[in-house]
C-alpha cells in the first residue's frame, strides 16, 4: 500500500521538478535583442490588460483590492 503512495508522490514531485528545471533553463536564456519589441507586443493580451492591470498574481491582488466593497 505504501509503495503506491510513494510512486504517486515520486511522480508528482518528478513532474514538478521537471517544470521547475525547464523554467529555470528558459529564464537563463534571455530574449534576443531583435525579438524584444515583438515579445512585448505579444504579451499585451487585452483580456486582463484592458482594465489597466496585467495577468500576474500581484496585478490580480491589486484589482481585488480596488473592487473590494467598503
Amino acid at each position: 500500500m505504501w509503495t503506491s503512495y510513494l510512486i504517486l508522490i515520486g511522480i508528482i514531485v518528478g513532474f514538478i521538478g521537471l517544470y521547475m528545471f525547464t523554467t529555470y533553463l528558459n529564464k537563463k536564456i534571455a530574449v534576443p535583442e531583435s525579438c524584444k519589441a515583438a515579445y512585448l507586443e505579444a504579451q499585451s493580451c487585452e483580456s486582463c490588460a484592458s482594465r489597466g492591470g496585467g495577468c500576474g498574481f500581484s496585478d490580480a491582488i491589486e484589482f481585488m483590492k480596488e473592487v473590494k466593497p467598503e
Partner: protein, 190 residues
C-alpha cells in the same frame, strides 16, 4: 472513423473555441491584430500537437499501468507547462526568426485551457495514437481558423458604426456568440 474525418471533425464540427468554449481568454485578448493572431494560431497548433504526442502515451503507458490515472489533470498541466518552457527555450536558442514569429506567443499558451482540453479529450475517446494526433492537429487548426476569422470580423467592426454601449468587447462577445450559433448548425454531420 478515417483520419480526414477526425481532422475535419476536430477542426470545424467540434471546434474547441466555438463548440467547447475552450481558450476563450486568448481568443478575445489577442484577436485585435491580424499579424499577432497568425503567429498565435501557428504556435497553438504546434503546442497542442506536441502536448498530445506526449500526454497520450504518458496516460496509456505510465498512469494506467501504475493505477494513478486519477492524477491525469495535474500531470498534464505540469507536462504541458514544461513542454511550453522547453519549446520556447529551444526556439529562442536556435532560431531567432522562428522565435519572433511563434516563440513570443508561447508564454500566453502555457496557461491556455484549450491545450489541456484537447489532451484530456484525447484520453476519454477510445482511439489510437495516430487518431489522437490527428484530433490534436485538427483542434489546433480549428483554433487558428476561428481566431483568424474572428479577428477579420473585429477589424471590420472597428470601422463600422456601432452603438457606443456595444463598442469594443461587448460587440466582440455578440459576434462570437453568433459565430458559435452558426457552427452549431454543423453539429452531427460527422
Amino acid at each position: 472513423m478515417n483520419l480526414i474525418a477526425i481532422l475535419i471533425s476536430a477542426m470545424i464540427v467540434n471546434n474547441i473555441v466555438l463548440m467547447q468554449f475552450l481558450g476563450l481568454c486568448s481568443f478575445f485578448g489577442v484577436s485585435t491584430k491580424m499579424k499577432s493572431v497568425v503567429g498565435m494560431g501557428a504556435a497553438v497548433i504546434v503546442v497542442i500537437f506536441l502536448s498530445a504526442a506526449i500526454t497520450f502515451p504518458l496516460y496509456k503507458f505510465v498512469l494506467i499501468p501504475l493505477k494513478i490515472e486519477y492524477i491525469d489533470t495535474i500531470a498534464f498541466i505540469l507536462v504541458i507547462a514544461s513542454l511550453v518552457q522547453l519549446t520556447e527555450l529551444v526556439i529562442k536558442r536556435f532560431s531567432q526568426s522562428l522565435y519572433k514569429a511563434l516563440g513570443v506567443y508561447l508564454p500566453l499558451i502555457a496557461t491556455n485551457c484549450a491545450v489541456l482540453g484537447v489532451a484530456l479529450t484525447n484520453i476519454t475517446i477510445d482511439q489510437t495514437y495516430v487518431e489522437a494526433l490527428f484530433n490534436a492537429l485538427g483542434g489546433g487548426m480549428g483554433y487558428a481558423f476561428i481566431i483568424i476569422t474572428f479577428t477579420a470580423i473585429r477589424m471590420r467592426l472597428d470601422s463600422a458604426s456601432v452603438t457606443k454601449a456595444l463598442k469594443g468587447m461587448p460587440i466582440a462577445l455578440v459576434t462570437a456568440g453568433l459565430m458559435a450559433l452558426a457552427f452549431m448548425g454543423l453539429a452531427g454531420i460527422i
